[in-house]
Symmetry: C2
Subunit: 176 residues, 2 copies
């Protein structure tokens, strides 16, 4: 009984850690997203900053776009198309007013990153052969628990990026 209790506690503790770290670090058990078969990239939260944005309207998020070293190097050198191996990550957070900051500033002006919204995480992965049919990019979207979006949702990615073909299908520009 004592042993069972220990195992249960260990299992709960492990599950808790996985739930907390899965979207941040990825894991071997990470489910690949449909269509492009992309998994969450381990360590993406440590990647370098490309830019930031605010999507108002229904999304109403603050977002950061990060890149792996290949992507960031290409951005900084103004190199298009992006080389194979480039990966761009889009993270987002709810757009929330900061009462704390506003109190100090004496004005209602400060909006900060709140909790992760349902669709917290996206990736674009450059592989000109593997993803030749979609402009050389694979797309993936994950919710805040690390679960991929469904196939229908993934099929909407590429068509939306087509108007930006001149910049190799990438919306975000590097923040100087």
């Amino acid at each position: 009984m004592r042993k069972m209790t220990f195992l249960l506690v260990a299992a709960v503790a492990t599950a808790g850690v996985v739930a907390f770290t899965a979207p941040t670090t990825g894991s071997a058990e990470q489910e690949a997203a449909p269509v492009y078969r992309i998994k969450i990239f381990p360590g993406y939260r440590d990647w370098k900053l490309i830019s930031v944005a605010h999507e108002a309207g229904n999304l109403n998020d603050l977002r950061a776009v990060l890149g792996n070293d290949i992507a960031v190097k290409a951005y900084r050198e103004g190199k298009l198309p992006f080389p194979d191996g480039a990966v761009i990550a889009r993270l987002s957070w709810e757009y929330v007013p900061s009462e704390e900051n506003n109190k100090v500033f004496g004005r209602e002006q400060s909006f900060v990153a709140g909790p992760q919204p349902e669709w917290y995480l996206q990736f674009m992965v450059k592989d000109s052969r593997k993803y030749a049919a979609s402009g050389g990019w694979g797309y993936a979207q994950f919710d805040k628990n690390g679960k991929p979006a469904n196939e229908a949702k993934h099929n909407t990615c590429f068509p939306c990026h087509v108007p930006i073909k001149d910049r190799d299908y990438v919306f975000t520009q590097y923040a100087p």
Copy 2:
């Protein structure tokens, strides 16, 4: 004459590179900001992301807060006060609508990072002995050309951070 022309071109080219990279990489000639005597930290643009924000009102910027490894580790471990050596950088860009994105989305919803505003860059540097008189933090502000703000402006930093003493004087919280 030919040699002089070459030297002139070389000088102009060098100046151009310095102007472009000075706020990004720092340099040996970088002028220290008054009061706390802080220079721009080389490589800060490569640091990890802490969070993002939108300051509306007169500032009207999108901002990213980055940290060196000591700062980010402390944030992730929820460690307060921050250890000596922690450095936090605040970068900002003009908050501008993206006509390009809005056209694709079919809605006026997208705001992105525009040019660097006048006061592009700030640092907080933890050194509990050196900066004992200001809560253990030194403060620095630089314009988009890497020129430090004046002494009067630097004297306004610490008083504004005092209300956040409970979080070791740091406004920004880590974006999950």
